[in-house]
Structures are given as C-alpha cells and as structure tokens.
Symmetry: C2
Subunit: 663 residues, 2 copies
C-alpha cells in the first residue's frame, strides 16, 4: 500500500513490505495463533523483546536514575473500591452499538466517524477531488464491505453538517450519538445492518480475588492508582520533602471493544508512568529548568488546532513557559526530557511533535495535557501523555478511606488566626446521636467560617440550630446549645497542610517501539528488496553478526576464540554459518538491525585481523581483534560513532556487498 | 521471634526486626493499604524495585545473552481453550473447605496438616519432649485461636496414624481429605467450627475478553503456554535446528485461596521461564556439559528423602549424570547455571540445595523435576523448578488445533519401508460420508499396521469392513471395497518427524528476592540495633551514599561537582545532608544496603580528595575523586573487590563509626 508517509531516506513507506519483515524476522505476531489468534494481543519475538529491554534500560537510566525518581512496582490486580473512587468504574467506558443480526460490537464514535468520513470521501470523489491514499480504510477493505462504493455527491448543507458533526463528535454523550445514528441512518459498514442504540461498556477487565465472591477486582487500566495509594510511603522515603517523583514500569489492561492498528491499540500493554508531586503554591518551579531553557521543541498548541492548523511552532521551552503557552516549568522540563529520551533511543526527530490537548479530549482527572506524538504510517500517534492531574486522585482517595494524604510543612513564621470553632460536647451528644455521631462531627468540621458565624447567631437567638448532614436520614439534624457551641477562638498556626498536585508523564511503550521500528526502517537505494532496520547500536536487539567467509573447518578455532571474546565483553551476537554468499548473509541480518558485522576470512587465519562492517554505510575497516572489540564496545555504549572508528582504523575495500542482492 | 535460622554472621535471625526494616525502609508493603490491603498482593518500594531490576538484568545476561536464548514476551490474558488443552482448567486447582458460620475459606490440605501437626506437637509437649521454635505457627498466634492449647497426649496407635497421614497427604483426593476431616474431627483452627466437605476450586483468575461474552479467558498461571504456542516461529528463527531455548520474563497469576508467608505465596508474581527444546532421541546431551562436569552441587535425591533424610550429597554434576542420579546432561548443565546465577547475585551458598521431586509432587505435565531450594526463616523454599515436561504440551496443542508442532529433520541416509496403507477413494466416499469424511480419514490414518493388515483380510473376505470412528454417531462406519482399499506399499523415508522434549527451568523471582534479602541481612556485633543489608555492589539498589561532614554551605560547590561526576558515570546515588552525625547517617543507609559512601570533609575543600567507605567492613580509604570513581565503577561492575581497592589506595583511619550508634 502506498502512503504519504516516507521512510528516513525519503522513499514511500510500504507498509505491507514492512509488516512482512516483522513477521519473517519474528519481531511480533498475534498471540495464540494456533487457536485462531486473539484480537488486540501480541507476542514479541526475540528482536522486539530485546529491543524493548534495551529501550526500557535507557528509560530507567534517563528518568529513574538521572532524575532520582523513586521506582515503584504496584499490583495489577486492583480491588473494585479503588477504581470506584478514582472514577474509572463510572467513567472509563466507551459507548458501543451492537449489530443485532451478526452480534458484532462496534464502538459508537468509531462507527459514526467511519461512516461519515466515508460519505465525505465519496462526495469528494464524485466532485472529482483527489483522494489521498492514507484515507483508504484497510479495515473496510479487508472485511469486504457489503456497502456499495459508488461515489455519491452530497448537498452543500449536508456536507457542512457532516463536517461540523466530526469536529464535535468528541463532545457527544451516548444519547447524542444514538440520535446521530438515527438521524443520519448510520449502519454497520461491515454488514450494512442497522445497529442498536449506544450502550456504555466499561473498558476494564473484571475478575474475582479469592474464592468467596466478596472481592470483585479489575486489572488496572493505568499504573497511577497504586502510586497514589503509596503516597505516604514515598513521602516518608523522601524525608517529607517535595517535589518528589515516583516512577513505575508495568502493565495495564484495557478491554478495547474493537482493537485495531496492531500495536497501537491493544488490550494488554506496558506503560512507564511518572507521578511528580509538587506543592501547588510554589508555582511548579523546577530546579533544573535553567539547564534546559534554551532547548527548542515543536509545539502544536490548542489555538492553532482550533483554527484548523497542524504545523507546530518551533520554540525554546524557556519562551513557551514565559508566555504561559506551557503552563509551568515542571511540565516544560518534562517535555524536554521526553524529547531527549526519544533522541537517545534513535527516534526520527522530524517525526515528533508535542500537541496540547483540546478541552474535550482530556481524561476525567486531568487539568491540562500535552501529548508527545510520533508520526508513523497510521498518522500522528499519541505516545507519551504529559498531564497535570491536579490534586484530584489524592483527594478522592483520602476522602474515601480517611487516610491522611497531605503534606505537612512546618512554617518558618508561625502566625495566629481567630476562627469560629464548632465544639461538640461528646458526652451529651453521644446518647442522642448514637451511630450518627461521626457523621455530625464530619458535617461540623466541613462548615465554612461564614456558616459557623451564622449558626452562632441562630444559636444565641433560638437556643438550637438545624445542621444539614447529607448522609443522615432526612438530610439534617437539630442540635441544641447543650450539645454544640460556636465560639470565636484564637489559634496558633505552626504548620501548613496541603494536597500536592501531580504532573504525570505517561509513556505507552508498545506505541513507542512500533514507531521506532517504522522510523528506523528503510530500503537500500536501487534495491528495494533489501530492507534495513537502522537501530542505534545502543538499542539494537543483537549487537554483532559473526560471518565466516565460507564453510571451512579451518575457521573453527578462530570462531570459537572470537565467540569467547564477545561473550567476555558481554556483547550479544549471532553467528551466520549458512552456505549463502557473505553479502546475502549481511542483507538478511540487516533486517534484524544488527549494527556490526565481523568477518572471519583467510587473512584472519594468517593473523591479519578481522574486518568490521557497519550496517548503515556497508563500509568496512580491518583491524586486530582487540581494536575491533574496543570499537564495538564503545559504539554499543554510545561513546563512539562509526565516523570516529572508520577515521582511526584502516578502511577495508571489500567487494562483498555486490553479492548482497537477494535472488 | 527466635528461630533456628541464622544470619550470615551466625546470629539468631530476628524476623520481626527484619520485617520492621523492610517496612521502615519501604522495601515492600501490602498493596492498597488505605483500602485495608489485599492478601497476597505486595507493592515494591524503591529499594526492592531497583534490586529486582538489577537481579533481572543479571538473569538476562546469565541466561538469555550468554546461552543465546530466544527472548519472548507472550500475553498474560489467555483464552479459555488454551488452558483447557494444557490441562490447567481441569487440574490447576486446590481443594477448599468453607467454614459455614464465618465464611472463611480454608485450603483442605493446609487445614488437615495444621491441625494434625498441632496435635502431634501437643502430644510431644505432654510427653515432655522439647518443641523447637520453628514449629510455632505465627498464623495461629496472631489470629488468637479459640482452640485451647492444653497439651494432650495421644495413643501410640493414633500418633502413628497421624504420622502416616501427614506422609501420605499429598496423594489424597478431595474425597480422601473429606473422609479424613470427618474421621479425625478436624475443625477450623480459627473458629473451632466444623467445616464443609472439600470442594475443588480452580486457581486461575477468570475474566472476559471483549464485550460479547463469547471469549472467556484467564490470566495465565505460568508463562510457558505462550512459549509452546510460538514453537513454529522459534524454530523458524533457529533455522529449524534443535536444541533451541526460549526464555520469558513475565507475570503469572494464581488465585491462592489462603495466601501466606509474605512474598513466598502471592497472587501475582514475576517468573523467568526457560523452555529448552531437545531431540528426545539424541539423549539430551549438552554441548557445553564438558565445561561444567567438575562443578560440585548439593543434591538431595528422592531415595534419601524416602528414607527420611534431609542432608544433600555434595557431588560433581559429572558424577551425578554418569550415575543417572540426574537424568541427563542438559538438566545437569542447567542445575549448574542456576547455581552460578545464585552465586552471582550474592546468595548464601550454604543456604542452597537441589532437591529431587517425589513422584507425588510433580505437576500434571512433568516427567522429572529438581528444585533449587533456598533456606530462609520460613524453611527450605522452592525458588527454581527444573522440570522435564517431556513432549506433553506440544502434543496436546497440536492435537487440539491441528497446527503442526513437530521438527522435520532430513535423514542423512534415507531408507525404504514396506507398510500397509489405507487408501480412501474420495470421489466415491464423498457423497456417502459427507460431513463425516474428515473423521473417517483421521480414523484411517490412526490405524496401526496390525489393524490395517487385519482389515485387508476382512475386506478380501467379505468385501466390506467396519471401522471404529469414535467421533461419529454410533461410533463406527461400514466401508465397502469401492471406497477404501488396503495395500502393502514400499515407501522411501527421507525425513524424520518428532515432537521435541522440553526441559524447563522456572524461576520464581519474588521468592528469590525475598531469600536474597534474608541472606544479606545481619546486625553489627555488639550493636544489634544496627542492621546491615550486604547486597553485592552489582545488585545493590543504590550504589553510592554521599555525605557532607556537616551542614556547611562551603561544601555546596564540591557536592554539586561530585553529583555531576556520579551522574556522568551513570552511578545511582543518594545524598544524606540531614543534621545527624556522620556515623548515624552511615548506619541509617547501611539498612538500604548502599555499598559505598563518599564523605566530603574539610580536607576535601583543600583539594585533598575524599574518603571512600566500605559498608561491610566500615573501613575507609582516602583518594582523589578520579581514583574513587574508578574504584566504585569497577566494584559495581564486579571487576574489582574492596580488598583490591583497599590494597592499592591509602587507608584512612577515621573515628566516625564510633558515633554510629543509634540513640
């Protein structure tokens, strides 16, 4: 399939060829294939598993070690109540429509979008406009839609209505979408059938802990909740000091109704989430911000998007924070660190941008959000979300459990305040209020100063007051002056208590790995069958390819010495002793992204060293084993480049690459 | 609680003090504590999370890289049918008894064992025998059993019956256990109530994939099944050559009915499993076995255990394999690699043994099994299982799915065989057999040579035969000579097809980490309040503690230079600037297991370098920053020891440790 997305060398990206490479070289495949595969679940084979391990080691180094974050591992199985409090039970849901005849489940918003977009496309075709290749919907193609595809022209009014509909779809409730489906006669694009009205379906996987049936639980939809519930431990570990950050690398689960686009929307996925806790009053300053002020980022703000633009502005993070485009230093610092992480693992910086969320896009807990988006053949894909979750989560958990989840800070200058106080005489109130005692206490403590003053006047006047207590029967209680008194008292304030705000950079690892694989993929000029995966040596799944010139028992001793040395240097390697030409062997392993090749030839037998080949340039040098191993080790640690190595070691002019063409 | 288990310095191990350290230093805690914690689920705080990451990096290096295994990541969510085929739906279950009055769920075997053991203990007390401290059951203590604890003497016959019962408990069915509970009036030790008869409860967490209700699934109970279902991909990646091994680091889940003993029996846990596929005919030889023949292992065989012994025999793996004590070279090679892995991460080798499984202990799929057991305060705990799973899994999945899961090997010397062949004339059979055609074909292909010969005689005699086809109605079909013929034919055999056998080392990471923490824990002589976690520098969660002598702004520049250099060297560090004495600060961080301390003092300000302190010996050297960083880097990579460093750098005689006592 042709597309407008280009490879790093500027050629058209051929997704079929790319996906064929991923299959052939066992990077990944749908899980449980012998049982018919399960949608939205993928297995990683050796190249991708090793790539993930390398990338996550860099992530640990870049964030946990360098930023001195507190690494945390929390449970995936999560009790019902935790996710009820966090809002996920009520709000982490999609609307779905059922096709009553086939039993198919369709996501309501996807359904509407797909059908309306296809009508608009058909309209453009009918009016003779060019339709770009990326608009072809592969899903519809494969499922062989029964809906006929004759181009149909729309009325101008209808076209405008459709365009407005798409722009506002994210704001629709389930009922809104039900109405749209009726009004526009939207049917299943697979079967052509009418669908049932949208029903809200929670996206969490539910299960039971234990055998009693009393402990309903979910698989967590994000790693964040466990981190929030560990807040007090983390604060203790940090000696009570903010800012502090926890970081968690772990799996989350979303029971997607219609998983699509391979690794981009899956049901089980690795996340790396940072929860950075800050004092909301100290302005979210960041101590290291000065060191990154000058760094330039591509920022696509809300305003540009509202105006229909999609070109990011390149600006320094210093300017962006000064102008309040990016809300604060901490958020800004993280955007920079996210970008340098992407650089470090070898992402194409021309295919990266930061996009500010529109107001209607944000999760139920978020106050502001910037996504790091990576361009791949599926479009611009959110790979890192960087949200300001405010104090939402800590506050709801504190309220639900009664566990103190605030920071207490000693004031440098204690001060006095005069405040209205509601004093309950528990000896007298106990017998009267009985089990409602604690509800009344809570209601009293939540009264505002104004309300307390008001009640003191009523009390002085009538000798009794009526207190609203929503949790009690009738919603209120009458209290007389024997039981409660309202007095104005002086109090010395020595501490400040506050709920921290949380800034959360959240990485979708599968999406990052998939984008990286697309970014490093290219084909050799003049020979499109020769694909190369140009992983940086630091992340490459295998570091060295060992190729004896041909099958010859005389190479055995030298090969085994070489293998021993590579093993001592802790370098992963693969030996290709197959009978085909050396060029073919290199070509075959370029697809695995092995950055360096060591050839053992007849001159090696004479003690004249080995040749070292660079995957990307196919250039070679010849040197002693010690020199070669030193160079490879340095390059795999990111401490030297091929340019450096080929500058200092003698270049070798072989002709092996000419034999490299596939039959 | 006193116990017979000793620390590495030979002192009594105080589990309460140890657990208090784990809590205080936030190594771990029960998950979701603000919601009342959930049994069998634990969160890892920064020290334990980092320890796990270091240990797993070594595991990857020791197994995946060094042994060139194929790393694999498979899905945790697993369709019902996969685990039905593997036998887990039917057999991965425990028997439980319900206390009808309290709703408590008790594992039947644990219940019987606990009650009978407590009666035997009471009998020993009544007879005046000494009862060792490890027999105290902490669970009963804490739950405040209602069962009175007066020592009761038993009849000799009853005592013998009880002892026999305990020895044979593992062989009991659910009905057997039900009968034992009735016969011996076994009641809940918590409530004293009678319990309901044992019911089999599956230990897998069940859920649903998608919203249709048509895709029941489990969370996998082991990582192995995904690896088996990837067999063809792995074989392709290995160019069709055996032996080959896959390795998977991932989470599994078991819905334990009564989780106990902290990290030793949990509901969600990290495993590292290797599936080593071998040709069953080539005798499970291992190419590298010669290199490990001489290595000595502590082996506790089946025979010794049957005779009541528990002392392992120290023997070389060469002798053990030669004498068939260990079944084959491959199994033997893995036992050695497991032991060297444990050594590498710092396990106490005096607390390690390999124990052969008794026949009644093995999982439903296993043919032979050796456990690597580690001694900790809970006893000898299985931490690595090393099972021979034979060809069981590949065969059942092949049968259930029709996917070819064998190896095809070209024979060097093809040969001819003469065999009876059953030929179905499909043109004629089709109209008659219709939908049963394929069942008849399958039944014919499964006929033995003898059966085919017999049927050929019947056919010649009567012109028709009766073929048993279990899947068809009536269980058989009549076929006449027009439809099927039996002939003896010569056939050239050029390939051999076989199902590989699988040897599976399976690591329980949580148990290994917990045992490691107990093994490295000790208290300083003469000051038992000063606990130390002596993690090897290679696995220590944090590598360096930085301590300025006291609070003094003059240290700021030097501190920030030091921090920058540590960061460049990618060494994790912690700065302790609190006001307490330097000795107190060291003592406090010895509990986190930080191996090295760098002190910044007034001589440092004068350019006279820094002191470097070794956690275990509390000895110090003084040297330049370059020398210190080089030494620390080498020690953290396992390339130098403190002995080496203190031999070549000038020793520093400080008196700081004297101040180290806690108040």
């Amino acid at each position: 399939m042709a597309s407008e997305y280009k490879t790093r060398t500027g050629d058209d990206f051929d997704r079929d060829q790319f996906e064929s490479l991923l299959r052939r070289k066992v990077f990944m495949w749908p899980s449980f294939e012998p049982y018919g595969a399960t949608k939205g679940l993928f297995d990683y084979g050796p190249p991708l598993e090793n790539l993930e391990a390398e990338v996550m080691n860099i992530w640990r180094d870049h964030f946990i070690r360098h930023e001195r974050m507190m690494a945390l591992k929390c449970s995936m199985l999560t009790p019902y109540r935790v996710l009820e409090t966090s809002g996920h039970v009520a709000k982490f849901a999609d609307y779905m429509c059922k096709d009553p005849l086939t039993g198919d489940i369709l996501r309501a918003d996807h359904l509407i979008k797909d059908v309306i977009e296809s009508r608009l496309k058909s309209d453009r075709e009918a009016r003779g406009e060019k339709v770009s290749a990326v608009e072809e919907d592969p899903k519809l193609k494969k499922k062989k839609s029964k809906v006929t595809k004759t181009a149909v022209k729309l009325d101008d009014a209808v076209r405008k209505e459709y365009e407005h509909l798409l722009a506002t779809l994210d704001d629709c409730t389930g009922d809104d979408m039900g109405a749209l489906i009726k009004k526009h006669d939207i049917r299943s694009p697979i079967s052509g059938n009418e669908v049932e009205p949208p029903v809200s379906v929670n996206l969490m996987f539910q299960t039971q802990i234990g055998a009693t049936g009393k402990e309903p639980a979910f698989l967590r939809p994000e790693t964040a909740q466990g981190q929030f519930l560990s807040f007090q431990k983390l604060l203790e570990y940090s000696d009570g000091q903010l800012p502090m950050a926890s970081a968690s690398i772990g799996y989350s689960f979303r029971n997607e109704l219609s998983p699509r686009n391979g690794l981009l929307r899956v049901r089980e996925f690795l996340m790396a989430e940072v929860e950075h806790f800050v004092d909301p009053e100290s302005g979210k300053k960041h101590p290291k911000f000065a060191s990154v002020r000058h760094v330039k980022l591509p920022l696509l703000d809300r305003k540009t998007q509202t105006e229909g633009g999609s070109t990011p502005t390149i600006t320094t993070i210093g300017e962006a924070v000064d102008s309040k485009l990016v809300d604060n230093e901490t958020l800004g610092y993280f955007l920079v660190r996210i970008m340098t992480f992407m650089q470090r693992i070898g992402m194409d910086m021309n295919k990266l941008r930061f996009r500010q969320h529109m107001a209607n896009e944000m999760a139920h807990y978020a106050a502001d959000c910037w996504d790091c988006e990576l361009l791949n053949s599926h479009g611009w894909i959110e790979c890192v979300g960087c949200a300001d979750r405010s104090a939402y989560d800590l506050m709801v958990h504190e309220k639900a459990t009664g566990t103190f989840m605030k920071v207490r800070e000693d004031l440098k200058e204690p001060y006095e305040v005069e405040e209205w106080q509601a004093n309950l005489d528990k000896k007298k109130s106990g017998p009267k209020l009985r089990k409602d005692q604690s509800k009344v206490e809570a209601a009293l403590s939540e009264l505002s100063q104004e309300m307390k003053e008001k009640l003191s006047i009523t009390m002085a006047d009538k000798g009794k007051v009526e207190l609203p207590v929503s949790e009690m029967e009738g919603g209120k209680v009458e209290l007389d002056k024997d039981i409660v008194t309202f007095v104005k008292e002086k109090r010395k304030v020595t501490q400040r208590e506050y709920t921290p705000n949380v800034i959360e950079p959240s990485f979708g690892v599968g999406r990052i790995l998939y984008s990286l694989m697309e970014h490093v993929y290219w084909t050799r000029k003049g020979d499109e069958a020769r694909s190369v995966m140009s992983f940086k040596p630091t992340v490459a799944p295998i570091k060295v390819l060992v190729v004896p010139l041909q099958k010859d028992t005389r190479f055995a001793t030298l090969l085994s010495e070489l293998e021993g040395r590579l093993d001592d240097a802790q370098l992963s390697f693969k030996v290709d002793q197959s009978g085909v030409s050396i060029g073919r062997r290199y070509a075959r392993n370029d697809e695995l992204g092995i950055p360096f090749g060591i050839t053992v030839d007849y001159e090696s037998l004479e003690g004249k060293g080995f040749t070292l080949r660079d995957r990307d340039s196919t250039k070679q040098v010849r040197a002693s084993l010690d020199e070669i191993l030193e160079a490879v080790e340095k390059m795999c640690k990111g401490k030297e480049t091929w340019e450096g190595v080929s500058g200092r070691l003698p270049v070798f002019e072989g002709k092996v690459e000419e034999e490299g063409k596939e039959e």
